[in-house]
């Protein structure tokens, strides 16, 4: 069992948790993820590591309540335990001195961008972060991102905070600017990563995305997470999760992500009925 040490709500349906997982924390690097299981009948879900504290032996996860498992997890309080935490999985992001780096986080994807930006800055890169949210009340970790970056640009879809629009709108402006961009990292919904990739492909700016495929094992034995990269089948868990965005077949990724839409709905509805769940508006 793994104890939840902290649990805070970051925004609508957005949760922050610090887990007691010393073996995971000891080795965790930006870009890696964990697979967790809430209880004995639970499914295994992958979550990117949003932070870690080796001294305390903790890892931080930030997640959005989407289906049953994430809603169930959100009902757990500090002091409660969950059945399983496995990690750190996947390969760490390749971080070196690139020069001028842009880190893009979309929604919940801002969380894993944070340790990445922090390490990039530590390595002497000039880090400009573009973080995009749905609306003002969804904004989280602005201060942390400011500490981890040289400059932070914020967008909201509805313009209630920062610039109105999408992260790609801001990225486009930066790309049109005078400064050369040496590398871009983008983490967020598949559709956002695809949009970033489409934008940077023309200008041949090396862009790394962290893929959020469906996953079961997390250790390369099942192939549920397979994606097509550069025309070849790759396993997100074993070969990624970071890939060269310009080689990723995002259409296949997005279609595969929808495989269990119906089942996810059945599972969530059943759970809601069982716990008499009250959906916040």
């Amino acid at each position: 069992m793994f104890k939840i040490l902290k649990h805070q709500k970051l925004g609508p349906k957005m949760q922050f948790m610090e887990l007691d997982a010393p073996l995971v924390s000891r080795k965790a690097e930006p870009g890696q993820f964990i697979v967790l299981r809430v209880n004995e009948t639970g499914e295994r879900i992958p979550l990117t590591i949003a932070d870690f504290n080796r001294k305390k032996g903790t890892v931080t996860i930030v997640f959005q309540e989407m289906g049953k498992t994430t809603h169930l997890l959100a009902t757990k309080n500090a002091g409660d335990s969950i059945s399983d935490v496995l990690g750190p999985l996947g390969n760490p992001s390749e971080i070196e001195h690139f020069g001028n780096v842009i880190c893009i986080g979309g929604g919940i994807g801002v969380a894993p961008v944070y340790p990445l930006a922090r390490k990039l800055k530590q390595k002497g890169n000039k880090v400009t972060s573009i973080i995009g949210y749905r609306s003002k009340n969804y904004v989280f970790w602005e201060d942390k991102m400011k500490n981890a970056s040289n400059k932070v640009l914020i967008t909201t879809n509805d313009g209630t905070y920062g610039e109105k629009g999408f992260v790609t709108d801001v990225l486009k402006k930066l790309m049109d600017g005078r400064e050369l961009i040496d590398r871009i990292f983008a983490i967020g919904p598949a559709i956002m990563m695809k949009a970033v990739s489409d934008l940077t492909r023309e200008k041949e700016i090396k862009t790394i995305v962290s893929l959020n495929s469906l996953m079961v094992c997390g250790m390369g034995m099942c192939g549920a997470c397979r994606v097509i990269v550069g025309g070849e089948t790759k396993f997100t868990c074993a070969d990624g999760p970071d890939f060269d965005a310009h080689l990723v077949d995002f259409n296949i990724l997005m279609k595969r992500l929808d495989t269990y839409k119906e089942e996810e709905k059945i599972s969530f509805e059943k759970w809601k009925a069982e716990v008499d769940y009250y959906e916040e508006s």
């Binding site: 496995l86 079961v216 250790m219 097509i228 296949i252």
Partner: protein, 467 residues
């Protein structure tokens, strides 16, 4: 000379009509009377070729004699000396290729049903354990040496079982949340009930073996860290977990699974009980299973039990070349699996949502023998045809998982990434041993157990300075 009873005592099983709608075990086991009757057929021949035919060298004639005399405790004690998981091996060993293949009785009639008798003794033991009557095998006094075992599948459990008896402190590391390896995620409930696997593992646990789940060696901890921090030797029995694909168009459509994913969802994650369990599996109407091994049979029969109306089994060679056990092929045929032999998939086509909808196949003919000694399948031009399906399970084999070789400096690997180990199971890294599928490539439960036992013996000798 008395009259020989040339026929095996048949084992009762669920009828095909009944069993294809449930996940309960298919063969039901021998009763006491049936077991004694079958045991009485054994000639107790002096040459006992069966012992040499067994990869872990169980003293078969002696345990059969004990069953004949209704001394089942003695029978299980004899088996336990060589095999720490008899309830498992009694069910899934290919006895027809091993002990039973060389049985003298086989020359005049049916060989003795050694596997069934082994299962009888093991099940008797499990039932008595449930009744609280646990008799632990004897073990030597602790020698203070610590051994790490990587992977809780057949080779790791066999290795652990022997080392704990010899006085070692043994910790088994498992990446999944549950122990058993392929016994837990791969072999279906109807062939190997999971409660039996866990009971055998509980027995090892009671005997002193420690199990650490959620610990993926190569990621959570490395082999070097294990050797540096706590352990005097390491045994790697991580299996051949990487699923192979054919790399044909459409293979990444939704609804196309590796057998590993399909079986893991159903067996380990209990997707057949969805939504009581959270892990989903697509319930398909028409399923194509690609391959001709035991895993293909398991996948086809699982798909049927999940509710498929029609299951095509597509295999590129003829029935004769199928690597699956005959018993499994027969069971699959009885249950109505539609065998499409000398057929190979060419590509998959999906709908606008990306779900697989049709499979295009080509007929094959057999040419000259290839490196595997089997006749090579050759496509017949112009013989392409399509089948409407809504699920595909690719069961064409696995290769070793690369995580450990990639993260262990100096660990030498060979063809398909297998770990190279000598006849003692020693790898290129001092104190690190390996065995099972990660060394041989995908094989059987019992060969992996044999390798685990061999490595346990080598580790014992190594730590006593004998090799």
């Amino acid at each position: 000379m008395k009259n020989l009873n040339k026929k095996q005592v048949t084992m009762q099983e669920q009828s095909a009509e009944e069993r294809k709608h449930n996940f309960n075990e298919v063969p039901l086991g021998y009763s006491k009377e049936e077991a004694i009757l079958e045991a009485s057929r054994c000639l107790q021949c002096s040459t006992h070729p069966c012992i040499d035919g067994c990869p872990v060298h169980i003293n078969i004639p002696d345990f059969i004699k004990a069953i004949k005399e209704d001394n089942v405790q003695l029978a299980i004690d004899i088996i336990h000396k060589s095999d720490s998981l008899p309830a498992v091996t009694g069910r899934v060993c290919p006895q027809e290729d091993q002990c039973q293949a060389v049985c003298i009785m086989g020359k005049v009639g049916d060989p003795i049903a050694i596997g069934r008798l082994e299962r009888y003794a093991a099940d008797w033991d499990l039932q008595n354990r449930e009744g609280g009557k646990i008799k632990l095998p004897t073990k030597e006094k602790s020698n203070g040496k610590n051994i790490a075992i990587v992977g809780s599948g057949p080779s790791g459990l066999a290795c652990a079982g022997d080392l704990i008896k010899n006085g070692y402190n043994v910790t088994v590391f498992e990446g999944f949340h549950k122990t058993g390896g392929v016994l837990a995620y791969g072999i279906p409930e109807f062939r190997l009930p999971k409660s039996i696997v866990q009971e055998e593992i509980n027995m090892l646990n009671k005997f002193g073996v420690k199990f650490a789940t959620d610990a993926l060696i190569g990621k959570t901890l490395t082999i070097q860290e294990l050797m540096r921090d706590e352990f005097d030797a390491v045994f790697i029995g991580a299996g051949a977990g990487l699923p192979r694909f054919m790399h044909i168009p459409g293979e990444n459509l939704a609804g196309v699974y590796s057998a590993n994913e399909f079986l893991t969802r159903v067996n380990l994650m209990k997707a057949y009980k969805f939504p009581q369990y959270d892990t989903p599996i697509k319930i398909a109407k028409k399923v194509a299973v690609i391959g001709g091994g035991n895993v293909a049979m398991d996948s086809a029969r699982t798909a049927l039990r999940l509710g498929a109306e029609h299951v095509f089994l597509i295999y590129r060679r003829s029935r004769k070349e199928m690597p699956a056990r005959n018993e499994e092929i027969l069971h699959a045929e009885e249950e109505g699996i539609d065998f499409n032999l000398l057929t190979n998939p060419v590509r998959y086509v999906g709908d606008e949502k990306g779900f697989v909808k049709t499979i295009e196949c080509i007929k094959m003919r057999l040419g000259e023998k290839d490196a595997s000694g089997r006749r090579r399948p050759i496509p017949i031009d112009g013989s392409e045809f399509t089948l409407d399906i809504d699920q595909v399970i690719v069961a064409i084999g696995t290769t070793p998982n690369p995580i450990i070789p990639r993260t262990t400096a100096g660990l030498k690997t060979g063809h398909h990434g297998v770990i190279l180990a000598d006849e003692n199971g020693a790898t290129s890294v001092k104190g690190v041993f390996a065995g099972g599928d990660i060394v041989t490539g995908a094989a059987t439960v019992i060969t992996a157990m044999g390798a685990g036992r061999k490595a346990a013996d080598s580790i014992d000798k190594y730590l006593k300075g004998k090799i």
